[in-house]
């Protein structure tokens, strides 16, 4: 029971932290950065870098 409760608390904490980080990142325009990077050919990724 104790392990179950600890896991539940940890899960909620991580999910809340994740949502906070995503929100802060989205507010600062980081989704745009991700999109820009993803829209360019990553030469390293395909073995040419």
């Amino acid at each position: 029971m104790k392990t179950g409760k600890a896991a539940l608390i940890a899960r909620i904490a991580v999910i809340l932290l994740a949502i906070t980080l995503i929100s802060v990142g989205a507010y600062k325009g980081k989704t745009g950065d991700t999109r820009n990077k993803g829209s360019m050919i990553c030469l390293e990724c395909i073995g040419l870098g």
Binding site: D33, T34, S39, C45
Partner: protein, 287 residues
């Protein structure tokens, strides 16, 4: 369960990579969906890819710290980890599907657990994903995504389509490309003999998700009162785990084989047996 999982894996692969005509044209999708990190390993340089790879995005942010950490990417990875754990590996990763299809080739199989090799993925995570991008950023002002550059077989597959379509890129293919092809071929060959060798021993994304397996929302639940310790779950586990003694082990990909084959239904996905009981109660009431 396995049929349902295979269908899900195929659909997810298609969902991550819907721009199939780009495989022939060699163009990349540049739309808004590229701003979304998909949960599984799916290189954003694959021409058909609609979203971004979480691992590639993570390395890019660590290799370019002057722009500040991309908390959106870090938060996305944490969210997938806390909700799904390695369910992503078992159900939502295209490269996992590729390895499983290759494993179906009828050759002798290695049934050993090879536990000691499992640590390699944490070394890959620490050195190639975290350390090297930061170190090369400090040294040169711009870090490179070391895991993508040296290892990632999924990126190599995407690269093959790009290189096939572009003479300019073909001219640039050199020693590093050959090295990556060797890595890809090695993993493909190993996949015929060992179940998911990349997932078990190399994948740093699996390493991250595995750390959250014990607390993830999607996890395996054992009913200790119902369990007769017959050992069936251990025999059928493709990751060579013992679900009774190691439920929610960091290597468990939640394929559900142990759940499907348990003769006394002692194993279930957490939350689903409550749903099943509610369903049975409603059926009995309606009769």
């Amino acid at each position: 369960m396995d049929k349902r999982r295979k269908i899900t894996q195929f659909l997810i692969t298609l969902l991550y990579n819907p721009h199939l005509t780009n495989l022939f044209s060699g163009k990349l999708h540049t739309g808004k969906t590229k701003g979304v990190c998909v949960p599984g390993l799916n290189c954003y340089s694959c021409p058909a890819a609609a979203g971004s790879c979480p691992l590639g995005s993570l390395q890019q942010t660590l290799g370019n710290l002057k722009k500040g950490l991309n908390t959106y990417v870090i938060g996305s990875v944490l969210l997938f980890a806390a909700v799904f754990g390695r369910f992503v590996c078992g159900w939502l990763c295209p490269f996992g599907l590729i390895q499983e299809l290759i494993y179906k080739i009828p050759v002798p199989k290695c049934m050993k657990r090879l536990k000691y090799l499992g640590w390699l993925k944490y070394v890959t995570l620490a050195v190639l994903v975290i350390l090297l991008p930061i170190v090369t950023y400090i040294q040169k002002g711009m870090g490179y995504p070391a895991f993508c550059k040296f290892i990632c077989p999924q990126g190599t597959i995407g690269g093959l389509f790009l290189i096939r379509a572009s003479e300019t890129l073909r001219a640039q293919a050199g020693l590093m490309f050959t090295f990556k092809i060797v890595i890809l071929v090695g993993i493909i060959i190993c996949s015929a003999f060992i179940f998911r060798p990349f997932c078990r021993f190399i994948c740093p994304l699996g390493a991250i998700y595995g750390l959250f397996n014990k607390i993830a929302l999607v996890r395996i639940k054992l009913d200790k009162d119902a369990c007769t310790d017959c050992g069936t779950c251990k025999k059928v586990c493709p990751m060579r785990l013992d679900p009774v003694r190691e439920s929610n082990h960091p290597d468990c990909i939640r394929c559900g084989k142990c759940i499907a084959d348990c003769p006394v239904k002692a194993l279930s996905f957490a939350g689903t047996d409550e749903l099943r009981k509610t369903g049975n109660t409603k059926k009995a009431a309606s009769k």
